[in-house]
């Protein structure tokens, strides 16, 4: 509200001075400044935004509008809520102002001119409509004659005796009451609840997993990839919500699997509000709601110092997907998660990599998941540690869990470089050899760079968009697509892999993901590939698409190139060869003859690193530590590898 015009500023100043003097004697020390209008306008307030028609018509006819006569003391204006105030003046035309009516001191001018303190308010009566009386319906449960309440041993549902119903006796039909008593009955045991809620949808080992998650409260599911750890967690959350044991759950996972959680929560957990792409401000809003809440956040959000302050520690359940992410106790991530999880009753860890082989990391992981165990694994024999953690960790192998999984066949194609590739390859290799022979110290970093450069040339020669690998890939794809089937193509490189291939594969309706795509785009790409019959190709880097996703719409996998650690490629294949796959899966490996690709593969063979059990638990950096400088230098030479 503004003061009217240029009216007598000097008088205002004098009045303000008088105000200070008179203040102690005034009965109502604060009043709204809106009084300036009172002598020549009409004021009313309304909850809704008034239209021009509302302003023009007689407001007294509108029961939702409070009419305030010109000469009231307008005490409503002390309301802290924002209101629409309509000021109807003779001139200028009526104005609508949306104001937060802060109570201000009046000016003496208003007090003197209107003598407002001497007036009592005149208030219009508003008819108060009564609330309708709600109808009450109900039933009483009938017990067998002579039975002691609660000791019948019969949990079956009694139909109950109907009670008097106000109004309409047929409001709830008898058959509905039968169902209603089922809902109202005390919840059955977990296994009964699973059998009732998910008949034939869970395998025996999954039911056991759900039971152990619920009963143990602090537990690590270390089942192999692709046997349904995510489903077990969703079902366990659903049951806990049904049993009213939890209200809030936080799932922390790698960024690439946010969409997987989103899909699973949507399919398996309808009792709760789920927030898969969540931000802190949404958390604050949602905390006010009454429904159970499940939040999914990537580890990166909790990797910053102080993140725990933001995400709080009032969670009933905290799930750590890929729990080995917290294996280093000296990281911020470990410390922050420890705070977030501090008051959680249920703490679950998921990991496809077996923890039994990595003794020193178990201490860090169990200090978060089950601190009361006080596990000190360092220096203890493996079998002793296994016995300690056995009640709190379970591992199911895929071959045991899903014996009926379709077979996986492998086809290797050994190709020869074209002229441009051979020229570029030899130039880089010879340059590197010369550089290494120049007397300067040789470092791992330098050799890794050279090897990476050579591997890129095996895909495409510099400035070329054609290569033997591409031609073979297109040949495979054409055959597969002609049969109406789908293919997943993995590459370790974005520029000379995914980006270079996108143009060639787009005609087949390729869904593409790589590191620069947002979570939502990745989620959309996976959905499109799984559900759109016209989308035949899923093209991704092995880093972004190689874990966590479910791509069972395909039954063919092509490795356009290969990561150092073959376990990474095998895990990537498991996106296709997993529960839900009904057809035999074919994996195609494209290799270049007489190149670093062939030599790396032979080196892995010589060192015994092509066995899944040996390398499945190794991270990339740990895997690289298995090679000596001489091993790497031998890759740049000609001739057979030294055994």
């Amino acid at each position: 509200m503004t003061r009217p015009g240029q009216k007598n500023r000097l008088l205002s100043a004098v009045c303000d001075l008088l105000w200070l003097l008179l203040k102690p004697w005034l009965r109502t020390p604060v009043l709204p400044r809106v009084f300036w209008y009172r002598s020549r306008c009409k004021i009313w307030e309304t909850e809704r935004d008034p239209s021009q028609a509302d302003i023009d018509k007689d407001q007294s006819q509108d029961p939702a509008t409070r009419i305030w006569p010109e000469r009231s003391n307008c005490d409503f204006l002390g309301s802290p809520r924002p209101r629409f105030v309509v000021v109807k003046t003779k001139w200028p035309p009526p104005e609508v102002k949306r104001v937060r009516l802060v109570v201000l001191r009046p000016t003496i001018h208003a007090i003197l001119a209107e003598q407002i303190l001497l007036r009592s308010p005149s208030i219009d009566a508003i008819p108060v409509e009564p609330f309708p009386v709600p109808a009450i319906v109900g039933r009483k449960r009938s017990l067998p004659r002579g039975a002691v309440p609660g000791k019948t041993g019969d949990k079956s549902v009694s139909r109950g005796e109907p009670l008097a119903v106000c109004g309409e006796p047929s409001l709830i039909p008898s058959e509905l009451w039968t169902r209603l008593w089922e809902i109202l009955s005390s919840p059955p045991r977990v296994e009964e609840l699973i059998a009732r809620k998910y008949p034939d949808r869970l395998r025996a080992y999954q039911v056991e997993g759900v039971q152990r998650l619920i009963e143990k409260e602090r537990f690590i599911l270390a089942d192999e990839m692709g046997v349904g750890k995510t489903v077990q967690v969703c079902v366990a959350l659903s049951l806990l919500i049904r049993l009213a044991r939890i209200k809030t759950a936080l799932i922390i996972c790698p960024k690439t699997v946010l969409s997987v959680w989103h899909e699973h929560l949507k399919a398996w957990l309808r009792e709760a509000e789920t927030h898969p792409y969540s931000h802190v401000h949404q958390l604050r809003l949602a905390q006010r709601e009454g429904r159970p809440q499940v939040w999914v956040v990537p580890y990166s959000r909790l990797a910053k110092r102080g993140a725990a302050l933001t995400w709080g520690s009032n969670w009933d359940v905290v799930v750590l997907d890929e729990v080995h992410e917290i294996r280093n106790p000296d990281t911020n991530k470990h410390r922050e998660i420890k705070v977030v999880i501090a008051h959680a009753r249920y703490r679950w860890g998921l990991s496809g990599t077996p923890l039994q082989n990595r003794i020193e990391e178990l201490t860090a992981i169990f200090s978060v998941i089950k601190p009361e165990l006080k596990l000190q694994a360092d220096g203890k024999p493996l079998h002793q540690v296994r016995e300690i953690i056995r009640p709190y960790l379970r591992r199911v192998r895929r071959k045991d869990a899903v014996p009926d999984l379709p077979p996986k066949q492998r086809q290797e194609f050994w190709l020869e470089m074209d002229e441009a590739q051979a020229r570029a390859y030899h130039a880089v290799r010879n340059g590197a050899r010369t550089g290494l022979g120049g007397g300067r110290p040789v470092t791992f970093t330098h050799i890794w760079q050279v090897l990476t450069e050579l591997k890129k040339i095996c895909n495409f020669a510099p400035d070329s968009s054609d290569s033997p690998k591409l031609r073979k890939l297109l040949e495979i794809i054409e055959k597969v697509v002609a049969r109406g089937e789908k293919v997943v193509v993995f590459s370790q490189f974005r520029a000379v892999g995914v980006t270079a291939l996108t143009h060639h594969l787009n005609p087949f309706g390729a869904a593409v993901i790589h590191g620069e795509r947002t979570d939502e785009e990745r989620h959309q790409a996976v959905r499109r590939f799984q559900h759109d019959p016209d989308c035949k190709i899923f093209l991704c880097t092995v880093q972004t698409g190689g874990h966590g996703l479910t791509l069972t719409a395909a039954n063919h996998v092509v490795h356009f190139d290969h990561w150092w650690n073959p376990a990474v490629s095998w895990q990537a294949e498991d996106r296709v060869c997993r529960i839900g796959q009904t057809r035999p899966v074919t994996v195609y490996d494209l290799w270049m003859k007489d190149t670093v690709e062939e030599r790396i593969r032979k080196l892995l063979e010589v060192k015994g690193l092509l066995h899944y059990e040996v390398i499945e638990c190794l991270s990339d950096s740990e895997f690289k530590k298995l090679f000596t400088l001489d091993d790497l230098l031998s890759l740049l030479e000609d001739g057979p590898l030294a055994g």
Binding site: P134, R141, A244
Partner: protein
């Protein structure tokens, strides 16, 4: 026997729907009653302001439902603190049950007691009972009878049942009721 009273509030349009479930010591349902939805008009919402929720929940829903029960409930349990105001008008002890301790002042602690819940693993958990001011003796009664109940059932679970039942019945109950 215990009566669990639960109100479901739908925000848009604002509606209140309530149910009361009487269970025996083993958690089996013995009697259930629910109301048709109460939908305050815009004017009622303005005039009642912040008192609306409490007024509708207690005067229009809790009291009629408790009075309509045929089976005698030893205790009435609710989940909201403002519902405790109805204690003056009912004969049974009325307690609020929650799974977290309220952060009120120490003065309020005398209206509250903790009930340990048996747990398979991990630290022991508790639920908390709170009585209306001036009815601290309700706590002693509640503490005794709830102790029997927690052996069979988690004390907040029956509210979940009521909510599910109300969700199922809501379409049937819309429009029922009468004007005064």
């Amino acid at each position: 026997m215990f009566a669990f009273f639960h109100v479901v509030i739908e925000p848009k349009p604002l509606k209140f729907l309530a149910g009361i479930l009487v269970v025996d010591d083993s958690g089996d349902p013995r009697e259930f009653r629910c109301t048709s939805p109460v939908q305050p008009s815009a004017v009622q919402q303005i005039l009642w302001g912040q008192r609306l929720q409490r007024y509708v929940s207690t005067e229009l829903l809790l009291l009629p439902l408790v009075q309509s029960l045929e089976l005698p409930a030893d205790l009435v349990l609710v989940q909201r603190e403002d519902l405790l105001a109805a204690r003056d008008q009912i004969n049974q002890p009325l307690l609020m049950v929650s799974h977290e301790e309220s952060n009120d002042s120490e003065a309020a602690a005398q209206h509250r007691t903790a009930i340990p819940i048996p747990s398979v693993e991990g630290p022991e958990r508790s639920v908390f009972l709170q009585s209306a001011r001036g009815y601290e003796e309700d706590l002693a009664i509640g503490h005794e009878v709830i102790h029997r109940f927690v052996q069979a059932c988690y004390p907040l679970e029956p509210f979940q049942r009521i909510e599910q039942a109300l969700k199922m019945l809501k379409p049937r109950l819309e429009g029922a009721g009468r004007t005064q």
